[in-house]
Assembly symmetry: C2
Homo-oligomer: 204 residues x 2
Amino acid sequence: MGLRERKKEKTRLAILDAALDLFLEQGYESTTVEQIAGAVEISPRTFFRYFTNKDHLAMWFHDHGEEIMLETLAERPADEPPFTALMHALRSVLADVEGSTPDDALRFLKLRRLLDGNPHLVGKSVARGAQTERRLAEVIAARRGVDPDEDQLTHLIVAFAMSTMRVGFECPRRDCTIEEIQRRMAESIELAERCLRPGWDLQH
Amino acid sequence: MGLRERKKEKTRLAILDAALDLFLEQGYESTTVEQIAGAVEISPRTFFRYFTNKDHLAMWFHDHGEEIMLETLAERPADEPPFTALMHALRSVLADVEGSTPDDALRFLKLRRLLDGNPHLVGKSVARGAQTERRLAEVIAARRGVDPDEDQLTHLIVAFAMSTMRVGFECPRRDCTIEEIQRRMAESIELAERCLRPGWDLQH
DNA sequence: TGACTTATGGCACACTGTGACAGGACGGTT
DNA sequence: AACCGTCCTGTCACAGTGTGCCATAAGTCA
């Protein structure tokens, strides 16, 4: 990895950290791109070369999470029930956060704290989730051997899985730890599985 | 109802219709507020007094739908299982569209067609749905006699209901009729109920 | 008619996001 | 080390969004 790429990655993280701190300090809306750029000593123009917009900063984790879910899903045995496979993919995301560097874990928690106080950002986040949902639906449809345009159950399976994830991520306390999130997520998964009929995701 | 209010409502609908037509004709992103305002012969400044932003236009239906869902929910017997009550609320929304004026029905279909070709707008729409989800969670928590901050099942019930709704609204064909949407929605509801264990939403 | 409330338009303004171009830093080659 | 092509960055210009402010016009009620 050359100096150029390392420098880029460093700038990327510097922007992210400066932005998260500014957001938490003075609010998301009232923080401008100019301020963020100023804090990292880059031009506003350069900011937009790293992140397409301010929202993209808060969606940083989704890109990573989606990637992990798709990777995990590809590795799960083909005969595993779709919802079960999705729940495993979900656990992988959290396991990755737990196994990451302390810096990354801190970023993750800051992001969560940010979302807590900004319903508007939660909305954006859910919107990003809709994109993930479409991608997952493609994969699950392939697993089930159906056309995603025709099979409602495929979409229901994925939507239920994403619902389970969102419920698990929610955390009423501000000072939520990763362990606590992991516990709530496990609870949510268990709850969802208890609510659904056995074999419901294998119908045709 | 005075002249002033009637005039306002007329302007509101005129903006909506002009915008929907422009969006479908030349695309959502490439339609500016100035163009919409020009088509209705108002100033851009006035546009923003009717709709907070361009997105708000595409969310017009949500405001109405949410209202109906909350109203219906309030009317359902208190001892009805929460998910069942939510499914009734959902059906009310569609029944309302069916029972509305031909103009409103046309607007509804145009909006659906617009969403079909704009994943970005679907995202915004889902984000708006997250807001509805929070409101519904309050009501369902009250019905269940629990604290919405503590009870994960409440959130799961609402999230599953909204998932069912979104799946039902999706329509692979461009020239979808209201009858077809209603049929798909009924299918989706039936499917969801078949997937869930009887009494799953009555646990504590 | 006159006094009020409210909607509208016009203006200035801050912010977002993008295209185009010039200069500088990096990477590989000789 | 010197060279050159590639990639990154900053500057400038610009279109578009969204808001506060104030004057004015239209609707409302006495």
